[in-house]
Amino acid sequence: MKDSTSRCRSIVFWITLSMLAHGIAISLPSSIPPSSKPIADMNIMWISDWRSTESDAPVARLARQDQSTSSDTHLLPARKGALSADISTRELLSAHDEGSSAEKPRTALEDKTVNHLLGLIRRSIQEHFVYPPFALRQGWEGEVLVELQLDADGEIHDIRVVRSSGYRILDEDALLILRRIGSIPNARVWLQGQQYSALIPVIYRLTG
């Protein structure tokens, strides 16, 4: 015979736990992707879409840098069944390179400016990073290629995953970090009224 008080107590406990969980979920809005699109959709961006954004704004120097200075070692091969777009980063980047060398966009920001902006973004990320503990425990690492738009006021818009790391948790984390930043302080001065589009590889790497 189970005494009813203990059953009662366990119901109360579960209600409390559930309230707590919901409370936590509700208190998250700033970091919840505003789009109702499932994350899997956001991971896929066709190269044609990419080209259309390319003509609007110069692309981050950073992407080219990545291709020239970093080897493939930190680009994980796409995992079987993972949510990656069906193009390799190298292809994506070279496609982009051709574009920028063939005709320099008139609105291009100077390299120095671009570098400075990327520095600002990186610094902002440093204040918000967290290696997702779940991924840390599984030993999951990878690279997420994220694209974002900076408007003339330094606000970050249209953040999307261009190429998935193969791990949903890392993709989501990269998006959440950038969303949380919201805007880049002082970017306005450097942007001089222009918009700016950046391709940023975010690499999750375990050491030791």
Binding site: S31, A82, F129, V130, L136, G166, I169, L176, G208
Partner: protein
């Protein structure tokens, strides 16, 4: 050589576990988020594992092992009163002798303990880097005693330039802690040592209701621990390490049914381990040789205050010596194995008398046991990856004892970690056992009339079979992590002391028990330095007669919040609920049900300068009167503050 003045400045060498490093050339290049890989031993991959890091210990201001364990799911810590008194752990509802405790690979259980249970009272957390708690039957890797789980304690290893730390803390009940530590490394040597001293005048462990007009007498405790870990790395692939820990503790106790002003117990423990490691065949073969020794001396003294009082002077000495050889072999990219061999010798000596006064004269018990035994074991465990995300381990072990047929155990654990949904599905099935203790088999206690206890050399090991299934899920980029694990253990041949008509007693394999339940919880990482965790454990235990096992609460819950309120200060708050449970009345010996209680702790710390850190906490915030064991009360509200300086 000039002797330089060592400045003990502030604080803790706090190495953030995660850092963001830009690529080589500053502004350009990808954003790299790195963290230190958690070394997951092969065997733990699909088990229910909780890792307590040095950072957790620091943030929660835990001082001793029981404090850290009490906050973990599935763990029920029971102290006979307050700090320093006999402390037992019931993992997932199993008995107090069903959890194996390892310190850097040394089995630190005391072979002289009559029922083989480890006393958690005296292990403080100085010089400790990490505590791994593995739940479920784990005998396949660790041998006897790993029925409910394993606690694996790993000490700090010196890293970086030499760093010296001094800290002091003081507070309620005349409690003072002093610690000094030094650690560092260079290309050849590494060292980490810490000396700590703890003193408390305590409170009485006998509650007012049992004092019956007697004066309140404080039961104090002191503990001095020295820990050293150091080594030489002659080449990058080879290293020789030495680890040593010495503990001297003294506890004031109350024996019998009320206050006892001079009942006390002293403990001296020494553990030492030498280890040689190397890597051969292009990192495919990693052999490790180890040799360890432990010596534990436990002395209990109590002088009688009246002719009817108790008088006790007993001494138990437990020693063990172990040599082990472990090989990690990488067979292919998705297949690796651990093959090991161990040989261990346990020795115990018990001597001394205890006397109970009565109207008919004294009844005197005389301990008289001196025995030793050798165990030889081998084990093999394989870890494989079948598909990309499907991993598994399978293992077998054989333990062979001098005096009885050995034990064979095995274990299988599949794990499915799904990257596309950040879900981990795990399961395990395994067997475990506990060899009867030396006292249970060969012990002897005489009385002035005859014999009070005679060991039973024919005892068989206690055996368990257990399984668990669980799911862990990460949501919102890992910021929200719920989990659920269901487990069940069946233990047979449990050893029990039975009384014979001749007034003698002995141990027999007579009882069976089942423990089952679930552990569930959710962690919410609001940012990298703020976390809220809520956990709930439900346990159901039953012996062969359908009766619930003693002192195992059906429900336990724990809520903890940790947040950074400014860049330099942190606040933690934790609430621990322990539910109703069956117990034995301290005075009458009758079986009773005791009520639940909730304890709250609030703590804060402030990095006041680069080298100094201040901290404070209030334990048992609501000054709850509670008895972890009937008739032995826990400590009331206490306020503690401390400072730490490092250089």
């Amino acid at each position: 050589m000039k002797i330089s003045v060592v400045h003990f400045a502030i604080v803790l060498a706090f190495i953030p576990p995660v850092s963001v490093i830009g690529a080589e050339n500053g502004a350009e290049g990808p954003i790299v988020i790195t963290a230190t890989r958690i070394p997951t031993p092969l065997q733990q991959i699909a088990s229910s594992v909780t890792i307590i890091t040095a950072e957790d210990i620091r943030a929660n201001q835990w001082r001793s092992l029981p404090e850290a364990l009490a906050a973990q799911p599935g763990m029920r810590i029971v102290t006979s009163g307050s700090v320093g008194a006999q402390t037992s752990l019931f993992t997932r509802g199993t008995n107090s002798n069903h959890t194996l405790v390892l310190l850097n690979g040394i089995d630190i259980s005391d072979p002289s303990t009559p029922n083989g249970a480890y006393d958690f009272a005296h292990l403080d957390l100085s010089n400790i880097e990490r505590i791994e708690i593995v739940r479920g039957p784990q005998s396949t890797l660790y041998g006897s005693g790993a029925v409910g789980g394993v606690i694996n304690i790993i000490t700090k290893r010196g890293q970086g330039p030499s760093r010296y730390t001094a800290s002091v803390e003081g507070g309620s009940f005349h409690t003072y802690t002093e610690k000094l530590s030094a650690r560092g490394n260079d290309s050849l040597f590494h060292y980490s040592m810490e000396v700590s001293q703890f003193n408390t005048a305590g409170q009485s462990i006998t509650p007012e209701r049992l004092r019956a007009g007697q004066d309140d007498e404080n039961d104090g405790y002191r503990n001095t621990t020295v820990s050293f870990q150091g080594g030489i790395t002659p080449t990058t692939d080879t290293e020789f390490n030495l680890h040593a820990r010495s503990i001297h503790a003294h506890s004031q106790l109350d024996i019998g049914s009320g206050e006892d002003p001079d009942s006390e117990s002293s403990v001296a423990q020494r553990f030492i381990r030498l280890e040689a490691k190397t890597t051969l065949l292009e990192e495919r073969w990693k052999p490790v040789f180890g040799y360890s020794r432990s010596r534990q001396n436990r002395q209990t003294d109590n002088n009688r205050q009246s002719s009817l009082g108790d008088d006790e002077h007993t001494r138990f000495l437990g020693e063990s010596e172990k040599a082990d050889f472990q090989n990690q072999i990488v067979l292919s990219n998705n297949n690796s194995a651990v093959l090991g061999y161990e040989t261990k010798t346990d020795r115990m000596t018990a001597a001394g008398n205890s006397a109970f006064g009565s109207a008919f004269g004294d009844f005197i018990l005389t301990e008289n046991t001196s025995v030793q035994e050798r165990i030889e074991s081998w084990y093999l465990q394989e870890q494989f990856t079948l598909a990309d995300d499907f991993h598994g381990t399978v293992g077998v072990r054989s333990d062979n004892y001098d005096s009885f047929p050995g034990a064979r155990t095995w274990r299988f654990t599949p794990l499915y970690a799904i990257p596309a949904t950040a879900t981990k599905l795990k399961a395990s099935y395994g067997t475990g056992y506990r060899a009867p203790s030396l006292y249970e088999r060969f012990g002897s206690t005489q009385t002035n009339f005859g014999t009070a206890y005679t060991g039973n050399p024919a005892l068989k090991p206690e055996e368990s079979r257990g399984w668990e299934i669980g799911v862990e899920q990460a949501l919102k980029g890992g910021r929200l992590e719920p989990y659920f694990t269901y487990y069940k253990n069946r233990i047979t041949n449990l050893i029990k002391v039975v009384y014979l008509p001749s007034f003698d007693s002995t141990s027999v394999n007579i009882d069976n028990a089942t423990t089952e339940g679930y552990e569930t919880g959710i962690s919410f990482h609001t940012s990298h330095d703020s976390t809220i965790t809520a956990e709930y454990t439900r346990t159901r235990t039953q012996d062969q007669n359908g009766q619930e096992l003693l002192r195992r609460p059906r429900q336990m819950a724990h809520i903890q919040g940790k947040t950074r309120i400014s860049p330099l200060s942190d606040v933690t708050l934790s609430l621990d609920y322990t539910g109703r449970r069956k117990d034995v009345d301290r005075v009458s010996g009758a079986t009773i049900v005791t009520g639940g209680y909730t304890l709250a702790v609030i703590g804060a710390s402030w990095q006041s300068s680069k080298n100094t850190r201040l901290h404070g906490r209030v334990e048992n915030l609501f000054n709850k009167k509670y008895e972890p064991i009937d008739g032995f009360q826990g400590t009331g509200a206490g306020f503690f503050v401390g400072a730490e300086a490092s250089f």
